[in-house]
């Protein structure tokens, strides 16, 4: 998994801010943002997550010519025995993948004009047993987002979990 050419754009920041319900004009109005302590439009703190749009291999986006697990004629586009489905899908893929933890360290905040790239490194993995969800498999990834000059902008650490049973609650 790798993020390449994550071009940070003002319109994408605006749409992302709308989606999280944040009306702060520092994410939408350049003239306003110039007068704030940020000195211009910046990205909201969780915007790095939108780098998924720039990851060619990202598995939670439908791709032309590939099976997609979401519903169409049937409740899922991937039959259980499909070669593409696999027995042990990676964390985040499929029904049992959930996001357990997310941590960001900001070396600076992203701005329109940044072109980021990132390499996702596998961290630790571990297992736990839960009465509510059965065997829980945790795995960690560490992502370093760098700008076009190579400067480190954000370090992200993510923990995903796959559960044996659906968790309600």
């Amino acid at each position: 998994m790798a993020v390449e050419n994550f071009a940070v754009e003002a319109s994408h920041i605006m749409m992302f801010a709308r989606a999280i319900g944040d009306p702060n004009q520092v994410y939408a109005n350049a003239a306003y943002a110039e007068g704030t302590e940020a000195g211009g439009i910046i990205a909201p703190p969780t915007f790095a997550q939108a780098s998924a749009q720039f990851d060619e291999d990202y598995r939670l986006r439908p791709k032309v010519g590939h099976p997609w697990m979401g519903s169409g004629k049937e409740a899922t586009g991937i039959a259980p025995k499909d070669p593409g489905a696999g027995d042990d899908p990676p964390v985040g893929m499929g029904a049992r993948g959930l996001h357990a933890e997310q941590h960001f360290e900001y070396h600076r905040h992203m701005r329109p004009g940044d072109v980021l790239s990132a390499v996702v490194k596998k961290g630790e993995s571990w297992e736990k047993h839960s009465k509510r969800a059965g065997v829980l498999k945790f795995s960690e990834t560490v992502t370093e987002y760098r700008d076009q000059t190579g400067e480190l902008v954000i370090t992200a650490r993510s923990v995903g979990v796959t559960t044996e049973k659906a968790v309600e609650g």
């Binding site: 999280i20 302590e37 309600e168």
Partner: protein, 140 residues
Amino acid sequence: MALSAANLNVGDTHTEVLVEDLKRTQLVQYAGASGDYNPVHTDEKFVTEVAGYPTVFAHGMLTMGMTGMLVTNYVGDGQLTKYGVRFVNQVWPGDTLTGTAEVTEIRQEDGEHLVDLKITTVNQNDTPVMTGTATARITA
């Protein structure tokens, strides 16, 4: 504006309602903006018949994003140096979420003034859905 150490005390809190009666449409909006199209968040047929959940549920990162609004409203724009969370319970359509940031430490590091915050987001039943910490630059 950035917070000032002179006006801050350990135990100070800032609370905001983040969303009332969360709509499924907002999950669609977040899927499109973030690029996370996992159908468990937007596809009722898939999530009930294949995944085995009662209905679609929110992206954890939507809760983190909405709570980020509370944090930046409190500490000012561009002041965050760290923000990390654990997702402890799922968030469902119809939920009303309230976030709280509590000052746990006011300190200096490498000549910078910083505040550490404990973050908690609860639903309408007062059940925590997300807990975490954040650190922001402040002025003296």
